[in-house]
């Protein structure tokens, strides 16, 4: 395999990276995204790097088609067949409201009530049939849904994670007359209890399945026309890839795949640089995404809530979105306290300095006033705005309300509060998973991440910051380095003392076999097969579970008990010999490692200079917490490997700016990453 392309479609740009492993060279392109049909942007990107599709060996695609369809509710018409008495489960949810305070807000179920039909059937929690499936009901329901114009179908019965025979029979009946392949069986997607979450996941899958299917089909046709005959791989939310031939079956797994590929790139890059525990921090215009990598592996969750009351319970890279980005607005509340975000200036009008008519100060404006951004190198400016104008608005909109007249002082305050909020959110994300941020390195990317990374690391006690060679195309790099990955979960839910460990081993075995089989069917070239196991456990009577890794499938009760006790102590500092442990779920991730990619190729050896001094493009005054400092400015592309220098420094590159504080040391590693030591 020599030529590999990763292409990631984002909100504004479609990023593409072409690795040629033979020549160890890279081509990169950034073209505008085409939201009405993302495939145009993809084809434009391919054209702009001038690759011959016939000679291309692999194309890995990260798409936001499903995420967007879901968030904008541009989804297919879905029908539901469910247990008698329970058609409203998906609408009623679990008795919540959008926010702790405030008694307003709304929720719209993804399947309209008139398309949710019930059939006679009931299975209990032990999997025993209480009421036999009424097959005549099923046939009537399927026909009625077809007549009502449903395009996709969901079959969701209570306790199907324990006994799926009724769901299977219903699927069999439905498939005979359903005109397409869009039939989702709840327990096939998620084999865990919790009817609302399992059902909603299935409903979301069905709603975006036709959308994804049509998109992939169109894209593949175009690729074929251009001579690409190999398989198209699609990124999934778990950070792995899947063959385009089967991607639509579990369409829900592609939701949130964009942020996941960023974390994959981070894991791969950091791991090559010797960092196995990493907090990833991707800051863009409106928000930042935070993920965790432990022992080189991105942390995965099965409990994502994509928006209010929309849980998706399939394994996904655990990415938390925080409402702070370059465009976050600074304002003064009724108490006279400065606040930053969560409101954002968005793309329109955007920060003041973009010259699109904005007059409300943002984080980006603060960075500009403090010399952290180069006014002449801003990417998104429509009409240049003078620094004085930005300063004027800082004083007018924020300063006067705080009794501050000095624009720079105001900008510094905005930065300080924004950094503190982000650091607080980062800390909660890591603590919620039982990790101390001080044991991690911070991997910063996205347009604004490297601007704030050092300040955040300082706030959190993180000793090192890593900035990859190409922070602006990290997601596309993630596509290229991602493995083929399939995740499996089975519920056990019995006290450990009663667990049949042979059955546990068998379940693991079945999960592995399923993963191997599907990877073989996909036919993707892989180097090695890696299997990761973990278990969910709890003390009897608890409802929350604790997830931890195990090393093998053949486990004894004793070893599992002590592994659980240790994980519990590490997490909560509590010992509970009084209470029995329960084995809740078994998870397996079957991962096909693809051939390694030479990241060093992301550097351009031609451009590199021999000495640090030659990399310097100028000086400017930059604000740090210790005061203003005359600070050297370096061009990133010039920096040679193994270069070492001390802060303060501003390092500029096409798509981001990196701020190095006075006490920091910077080193360029062999792959071209910047390692900043605090």
């Amino acid at each position: 395999m020599t030529q590999i392309v990763g292409v990631d479609v984002g909100g504004t740009f479609t990023d593409l990276v072409l690795f040629d492993t033979k020549t160890e060279s890279v081509k990169i392109s950034k073209v505008p995204s085409t939201p009405e049909n993302q495939s145009f942007g993809v084809m434009n990107g391919l054209e702009s790097v001038g690759v011959s599709l016939e000679s291309l060996d692999a194309l890995i695609h990260g798409t936001t088609v499903t995420t967007n369809a879901l968030l904008e509710r541009k989804v297919s018409r879905v029908g539901l067949i469910t247990t008698r008495g329970f058609r409203d489960v998906l609408e009623l949810g679990r008795r919540t409201r959008p926010k702790p305070y405030g008694m307003t807000g709304s929720f719209e179920c993804i399947i309209p009530r008139e398309l949710r039909l019930e059939v006679g059937e009931r299975v209990d929690c032990d999997g025993e049939v209480v009421e036999k499936l009424n097959e005549a009901d099923v046939l009537t329901a399927v026909k009625q849904l077809l007549e009502s114009g449903a395009e996709a179908l969901v079959i969701h019965f209570l306790h199907s994670y324990k006994n799926d025979s009724h769901e299977r029979k219903t699927e069999e009946i439905a498939r005979k007359i359903w005109p397409n392949a869009f039939v989702t069986r709840g327990s096939a997607l998620v084999s865990e209890f919790r009817e609302y979450e399992r059902g909603t996941t299935a409903a979301i899958n069905a709603a975006i399945q036709p959308v994804l299917h049509r998109y992939i089909e169109r894209l593949q046709e175009k690729l074929k026309e251009e001579g690409y005959n190999k398989d198209l791989l699609v990124m999934q939310g778990n950070g792995g890839t899947v063959s385009s031939g089967i991607v639509a079956e579990d369409a829900v797994k592609t939701v949130m795949s964009g942020p996941a590929s960023g974390v994959m790139a981070a894991a791969y890059t950091a791991s090559q640089s010797g960092f196995e525990r990493v907090v990833t921090y991707d800051m863009g215009g409106t928000s930042c995404d935070v993920g965790l990598i432990v022992n080189g592996i991105p942390q995965v969750t099965s409990e994502l809530e994509i928006e209010y009351a929309m849980p998706i319970h399939v394994p996904m890279v655990d990415v938390h979105t925080i409402g702070a980005g370059g465009g976050s607005l600074a304002w003064v509340n009724d108490a006279g306290l400065l606040q930053v975000g969560p409101e954002s200036a968005g793309a329109q009008p955007g920060p003041i300095c973009y010259g699109r008519g904005g007059n409300k100060p943002t984080i980006t404006d603060a960075n500009l006033v403090l010399g952290r951004l180069n006014p002449d190198a801003l990417l998104a400016v429509d009409n240049p705005v003078s620094l004085d104008t930005v300063r004027k608005y800082l004083v007018e909109e924020v300063g006067t309300k705080l009794g501050l007249q000095d624009a720079e002082e105001i900008a510094a305050a905005i930065l300080r509060i924004a950094n503190m909020n982000m650091a607080g959110a980062l800390r909660l994300v890591s603590l919620a998973r039982g990790h101390d941020p001080r044991d991690f390195a911070l991997f910063a990317f996205g347009g604004a991440g490297p601007l704030h990374a050092v300040a955040l690391a300082r706030e959190l006690g993180i000793p090192k910051v890593l900035v990859p060679m190409r922070p602006g195309i990290t997601n596309a790099v993630g596509c290229v380095v991602a493995d083929v990955r399939h995740d499996y979960v089975n519920s056990i839910n019995i006290p450990l003392t009663q667990a049949d460990m042979e059955q546990v081993e068998q379940l693991f075995y079945r999960q592995i076999e399923a993963g191997k089989k599907i990877i073989a069917e996909e036919g993707v070239e892989i180097q090695e097969l890696l299997v990761i196991y973990d278990v969910d456990m709890q003390f009897q009577g608890q409802t929350h579970i604790l997830n931890f890794s195990v090393q093998e499938t053949r486990l004894s009760r004793e070893s599992l008990q002590s592994a659980f006790e240790k994980a519990y102590w590490d997490r909560f500092g509590v010992e509970l010999p009084e209470i029995r442990a329960v084995l809740v779920n078994l998870h397996t991730a079957v991962i096909g490692r693809r051939k390694p990619v030479p990241l060093a190729a992301l550097m351009s050896a031609k451009e590199q200079k021999n000495t640090i001094d030659e990399c310097r493009t100028g000086n400017r005054k930059v604000w740090f917490e210790s005061g203003w400092k005359e600070t050297p400015v370096y061009k990133r592309e010039f920096l040679p490997v193994k270069a070492k220098f001390n802060g303060p420094a501003v390092i500029e590159q096409l798509d981001t700016t990196i701020i190095v504080e006075p006490e920091n040391q910077v080193e360029v590693d062999l792959e071209g990453n910047l390692i900043i030591s605090l």
């Binding site: 008694m103 307003t104 209990d124 306790h159 209470i579």
Partner: protein, 580 residues
């Protein structure tokens, strides 16, 4: 005099304090055993003043009803505390000492910094049982607090960090399913330890003086912020009311009379015209009464941060000699879950007259506590099963009410049916939307829930404390009331409807018997005849209302197999009713 603290440091300290509390909340929830805590989030963690117990900061995901109560509870501990050492933790659940009901168990811990008490850390968690006549503690007809369960005055459960086994054994000997409580006790204490650690870090970093001064200043600022919002309300006297179905013993409604006087930047609350103390457990202790007013105001102005200053412009007269100021030994098990929500409703109903755009019609406003306790022969164990349920929210100026929203005072999620059936010998036969329950209005109320539970094994006792069985949640500005709460038990095929509609206790059920509950819908907002007919049609297609209801409640006539609005007929029908 106050030293000058810049506004930036203030914001930094404010977030820092908030994070200490959020981390305590998180630690508590993730390790708790009581599903009422871990799933239903029925708990709260906070930081309180070292001398007077005033609220300094509280976790953002704490149960709203604890907003005010915990500072009163901490005050009561401070008054009684002796020989304090680092590592001491008081346990207390006495409702009359700044509490709610007995099930809300508070841990209160002096926080030492450099050898001196700097503040108090406290948390509250709802235990599934604290003894008493009824499993789960929601007695519907107790007449003395002793019948409601074990009452603990403030005692040191941990002394210098060591758990006192003797006190523990007294507690565990007096409650049901005691074996798991040790897990909650450890989780609750460990959360305070987490808070201690983080608070110490904050003080190390910014200095005790700066933090102390910031706390004072933040209190001032919160008051300022609250006053700025209150100022927007036109001056005047606004009256509202709300009714509790009954006290569970005497089948008469209890009335809350809420007179709110707005003067410049202050609000004065007078509830003295409310019903006298009641025989049954629907009395409210003063801490809960005040807290309910606070949380109602916080629902109206959600962006105002929480500390003692927030409440400064809210002046609540002690409602002596009413059921809203219960004294020993009045039973109080209904106060936190139900009476508190009626108090909030009375505040809403008064203020909607002043600031209709910011308000909403009454929400379902009941926690819907249903408790089934019994013995499961298959697993040879006793159990106490809690079911809580939501209801519709009121319509509001911006839209229809939410369906199956959680209680006004809570943020608790319900336990999934699949989980309850695993733990308890029951089978749910239905879990559905309570059609027609949303109060009609230009913006209609949201819908309640119907559920039906069948007992599969053993014998059990069913108790419930709910509300809005007699009167639906109030509609406003011409909107109709939401549908009422209904309970029906079928014993051997014979229907039994509780005399008090929404409250009863120890109803015996056998295998095959069922309990059927329908929860209230939210009140309607504004004249239903002003509702867009297309929206009414949409609601009929969804089965929310029948075509008949569309005409009767909204004056909308449908035609073409209920697929279109007959505009002409609708116009005539609406004109006719409007004139009448």
């Amino acid at each position: 005099m106050m030293t000058n603290i810049d506004p930036i440091t203030l914001t930094v300290i404010q977030s820092g304090l908030q994070q200490v509390c959020n981390e305590m909340d998180l630690a508590f929830v993730r390790s708790a055993f009581s599903p009422v805590i871990s799933e239903a989030l029925d708990r709260s963690d906070g930081i309180y003043d070292k001398d007077n117990g005033e609220l300094i900061s509280q976790g953002e995901l704490g149960l709203p009803v604890f907003v005010g109560t915990m500072q009163f509870g901490t005050q009561c501990v401070i008054e009684r505390a002796k020989n304090l050492q680092p590592g001491d933790v008081y346990i207390v659940n006495d409702p009359y000492l700044g509490g709610t009901h007995l099930m809300d168990v508070r841990f209160v811990k002096p926080f030492f910094y450099k050898g001196e008490i700097f503040a108090w850390l406290a948390n509250t968690g709802h235990w599934p049982d604290t003894g008493g006549a009824v499993p789960g503690g929601f007695s519907a007809n107790a007449t003395e607090v002793e019948q409601e369960g074990l009452r603990l005055p403030p005692v040191k459960l941990y002394k210098a960090g060591v758990l006192d086994d003797e006190i523990l054994s007294i507690v565990l000997s007096n409650i049901r399913i005691a074996d798991q409580r040790i897990g909650d006790i450890k989780a609750q204490a460990a959360a305070l330890t987490v808070g201690e650690k983080r608070f110490t870090e904050l003080l190390d970093r910014y200095g005790a003086e700066t933090v102390k001064n910031s706390i004072k200043e933040l209190k001032k600022r919160a008051a300022q912020q609250m006053r700025a919002r209150i100022k927007e309300i036109p001056d005047g006297l606004y009256e509202g009311e709300a009714f509790v179905d009954s006290d569970g013993v005497v089948n008469e409604p209890l009335r809350i009379e809420m007179k709110i006087r707005k003067e410049d930047t202050e609000l004065y609350f007078d509830m003295s015209g409310s019903s006298p103390p009641c025989l049954g457990p629907m009395n409210s202790v003063i801490a809960t009464t005040k807290s309910s007013v606070y949380l109602a105001i916080k629902h109206i102005f959600p962006e105002v941060p929480l500390n003692a200053g927030t409440f400064e412009p809210l002046h609540i007269d002690d409602p002596h000699d009413t059921f809203l100021y219960a004294k020993y030994p009045r039973p109080v098990s209904g106060c936190a879950a139900e009476v508190s929500q009626r108090i909030a409703e009375a505040v809403f109903s008064a203020l909607v007259k002043a600031i209709p755009d910011l308000l909403f019609a009454a929400p379902a406003g009941t926690s819907g506590n249903l408790c089934i306790g019994g013995y499961d022969p298959k697993h040879d164990r006793n159990y106490v099963m809690y079911v809580i349920s939501g209801g519709g929210y009121g319509g509001n100026s911006s839209g229809d009410g939410l369906s199956n929203g959680c209680s006004t005072i809570g943020i608790s999620k319900t336990t999934p049916v699949e989980v309850m059936e695993q733990f308890y010998p029951v089978l749910f036969e239905e879990y559905s939307l309570h059609q027609g329950s949303g109060g009609a209005g230009k913006q209609r109320g949201g819908f309640g829930v119907n559920y039906k539970i069948k007992l599969r094994r053993g014998t059990a006792k069913v108790s419930m404390v709910m509300d809005h069985g007699r009167f639906g949640p109030q509609g406003v500005l011409g909107g109709s009331d939401g549908g009422v709460n209904q309970v029906k038990v079928e014993q051997n095929g014979e229907p039994y409807i509780p005399e008090h509609m929404s409250k009863d206790q120890n109803i015996i059920v056998e295998v095959g018997d069922t309990v059927h509950v329908s929860t209230p819908g939210g009140g309607g907002y504004d004249d239903p005849f002003l509702r867009n007919p297309e929206l009414v049609l949409h609601d009929v297609k969804r089965g929310y209302y029948s075509a008949k209801q569309a005409q009767e409640l909204f004056g909308v006539v449908l035609s073409g197999r209920e697929n279109t609005v007959d505009l002409k007929a609708t116009e005539i029908s609406r004109a006719r009713y409007s004139v009448g």
